[in-house]
């Protein structure tokens, strides 16, 4: 693989490092990586002049000289590793778990036994499951989309390959944990996951990203997923990176006939975060529910870009993204709903809501509708503002202190998203985490006097 501990500073040097990488992969994969590398050389990092990146400046992360970290030193006692990942592990909650450290699967820290699912490291499956992987890898995420997807394809270290055979409903949910320990310098970790859920199967999957790095580590993750007919998936993404970390993720999901997909993206960490989530409803009767919750403080910047691609008729989608912003945090939500011609009877609903808990917090929210069919129902709404003065006054008039009233209202705001998650155990787990994050927000200051900006629009074509 790529030589560890090699300094990479510029885009060109990064590309050269990756080009000098391994030749041991199957020829088709080597070819794919080369193609991706050419893409990365050609398009490079995104910049503010690009419409999809106008609110998120990635310049800080492009100026860092990253090392590709070596696989973790397992000379350390396993107990020490266990201790490091314990705060992020779901093992004790009964989940199967694959633990990746510096992008490398550590079987000694993982547990995925069971006869039902087919689970392995992607690097291992490239040989054993070559046909299946070849059919799906890099088919959901376009290489040309931006430099990050190209970079990941060119240089991903490893990730999980999960295949849920038709009709299977595994008894336990599965957790992929990507952990970046503290390094003496900046590191680049590129996880790549591929999930194939066959017809009628039903699975709950979480992928979380956590780190202890005090240096500006960059996680550049890609997850591709395909759902066969009538398959059902709940996908939870939990971003708890270290305070100085950069995190970029691209998730692409494709749904066949009658498939149902629910996602929840939770952001509690990171300095500069960008998620692209695209869901393609390829065949009639598909259903997608996209949920998001970000709790940010300090100077955290979190950008959620979603694309709901209604490519077939009679599909439904609903989307709810919420943010609680304190300090000088910045949030971005851009939700695009694309209704292609022929996607009649589309029913799409999108909502984004943000509470600004300080005068210096900023939110940019933008819905985007592109509709090429004439018998569809699409609605979107967006609100940005401080905590509701009327609600605060009402609670105070019943004896509840300002601080307690603020906690109650912020928690209710967040709980509204978490309550929609179907998986009970995960919901309880996230409630605890979010409660902790909300305690970290400074709420004692009286709420800012600012008029909420309100926009409620709807577009209906019948």
């Amino acid at each position: 693989m790529i030589e560890p501990t090699t300094m990479i500073s510029t885009k060109a040097e990064l590309a050269d490092r990756l080009a000098a990488g391994p030749s041991s992969t199957p020829a088709w994969l080597a070819e794919l990586r080369r193609e991706a590398l050419d893409q990365f050389r050609a398009i490079g990092w995104p910049n503010l002049r690009q419409e999809e990146w106008r609110w998120t400046n990635v310049a800080p992360l492009t100026k860092v000289a990253y090392r590709i970290p070596a696989p973790p030193d397992l000379g350390l006692p396993l107990e020490e590793w266990r201790e490091q990942i314990a705060p992020y592990s779901l093992r004790l909650r009964g989940w199967r778990e694959l633990v990746f450290v510096n992008g490398t699967l550590i079987p000694q820290l993982s547990e995925w036994a069971g006869p039902d699912l087919r689970i392995s490291a992607l690097s291992a499956a490239v040989d054993s499951q070559s046909a299946l992987i070849r059919r799906h890898l890099a088919r959901g995420v376009a290489l040309a989309q931006d430099g990050f997807t190209a970079l990941n394809t060119a240089g991903f270290q490893d990730g999980a390959f999960i295949h849920v055979p038709a009709g299977l409903q595994p008894d336990r949910p599965l957790h992929l944990l990507f952990f970046t320990p503290d390094h003496p310098g900046p590191v680049l970790v590129q996880p790549r996951n591929l999930v194939v859920v066959d017809a009628g199967a039903k699975v709950v999957l979480a992928h979380s990203y956590a780190g202890a790095s005090r240096q500006p580590a960059l996680t550049n993750a890609v997850l591709e997923m395909v759902l066969g007919a009538a398959a059902q998936v709940e996908l939870i993404q939990l971003q708890r990176e270290a305070a100085a970390a950069f995190h970029v993720s691209n998730t692409a999901v494709q749904l066949e006939r009658q498939a149902a997909f629910q996602s929840l993206t939770v952001n509690l960490g990171g300095a500069l975060v960008r998620h692209n989530l695209q869901v393609r409803l390829k065949q009639p009767g598909g259903q997608a529910t996209l949920l998001g919750l970000s709790v940010q403080t300090g100077r955290q910047h979190v950008d959620n870009h979603t694309l709901l691609d209604h490519a077939s008729e009679q599909c439904r989608s609903s989307e709810l993204y919420k943010s609680l912003l304190g300090g000088r945090a910045e949030g971005v939500f851009k939700g695009k709903i694309l209704v292609r011609s022929g996607a009649q009877k589309t029913d799409a609903k999108q909502t984004s809501r943000t509470i600004l808990l300080s005068e210096d917090a900023v939110m940019n929210a933008q819905p985007q509708l592109e509709i090429y069919a004439d018998d569809v129902k699409c609605t979107h709404g967006s609100t940005i503002g401080p905590l509701d003065e009327e609600q605060l006054f009402y609670l105070r008039c019943r004896g509840i202190s300002v601080a307690a009233a603020q906690r109650l209202l912020t928690y209710a705001f967040a709980g509204d998203v978490l309550n929609r998650l179907r998986h009970e155990g995960m919901r309880q787990y996230l409630e605890t985490l979010v409660r902790g994050a909300l305690k970290g927000l400074s709420l004692v200051e009286p709420p800012v006097e600012r008029k909420p900006t309100r926009e409620e629009k709807s577009t209906e074509n019948s």
């Binding site: 006054f393 609670l395 105070r396 008039c397 019943r398 300002v402 307690a404 509204d416």
Partner: protein, 260 residues
């Protein structure tokens, strides 16, 4: 000593003065009604007493239970035993009615140095009060006021009053938007809360509510002042004659007194 004593109270929104010298005393056990046409300042009086920050008190003082009310935050007033039933109760999605009630009860108890109620004692208390207002217990699991009918919202206000057991209950146009059946239920709830330790201030535009909550005293508010006080028969007179005949001399005197 009166439980609530208002002296020469003036309050404004921005530079617009709305209350122009209110004087009023309520003793424990009494029920007073404040009536008046739209814009007379009756709701403002209720809001100022509850502590709404939209209004600035420009002159006067209010003593409640021996304390200087106007220096207290809204939550302190509540804990001291002041309760205002809102004209427009606020919806709070994501917070169940029982969670809200329990938070309120325990906040007030904590302020008073009393131990918090546990879940069992709290439920016992609330269930008893629910019966009083003919409310279904599953009401407790619904988010506060969200999707409630007008009648349910007002019953919820009185339920809170019953649970919090205040010394002073202020009903801000509690009758608005209620049909006659809901009005009777709400009035029955309020009447059951009448006690020698408590006083109640009913703010209303119409006499109708006073058929069910019979006041000891009626005051007529006009242009920010009490222009007439009497017993319950005054309400009937207002019902028959309207507010027009009460064009008190106050405003004209005021104009003349500028004396250019």
């Amino acid at each position: 000593m009166p439980l609530l004593e208002i002296k020469d109270l003036h309050a404004a929104v921005g530079i617009k003065e709305i209350l122009k010298g209110i004087n009023l005393s309520l003793r424990a056990g009494e029920v007073h009604a404040i009536m008046g046409p739209n814009g007379s300042g009756k709701s403002t009086l209720a809001q100022v007493l509850a502590g709404r920050e939209t209004y600035t008190v420009t002159r006067g003082e209010v003593r409640f239970n021996g304390k200087e009310l106007l220096t207290l935050a809204p939550e302190e007033r509540a804990a001291e035993g002041l309760f205002m039933a809102f004209q427009y109760p606020v919806e709070i999605p994501g917070v169940s009615t029982s969670y809200f009630l329990k938070a309120a009860v325990n906040a007030v108890r904590q302020y008073r140095g009393e131990p918090e109620l546990d879940a069992i004692d709290f439920l016992k208390l609330v269930r008893e009060k629910l019966g009083l207002l003919e409310m279904d217990p599953n009401f407790l699991s619904r988010p506060v006021n969200e999707g409630f009918s007008g009648g349910e919202k007002k019953r919820n206000e009185i339920l809170q009053m019953a649970v919090l057991n205040p010394r002073l209950g202020i009903l801000d146009e509690t009758d608005s938007g209620l049909d006659i059946d809901a009005l009777k239920i709400v009035a029955h709830g309020v009447n059951s809360l009448r006690s020698p330790e408590r006083c109640i201030l009913v703010v209303t535009h119409y006499q109708r509510l006073l058929n069910y909550i019979v006041p000891d005293f009626v005051h007529v508010l006009r242009e920010g002042r009490i222009v007439k006080s009497g017993d319950k028969s005054l309400a009937l007179e207002l019902e028959a004659r309207g507010y027009g005949w009460l064009d008190g001399p106050a405003e004209r005197t005021e104009v003349l007194s500028y004396g250019f």
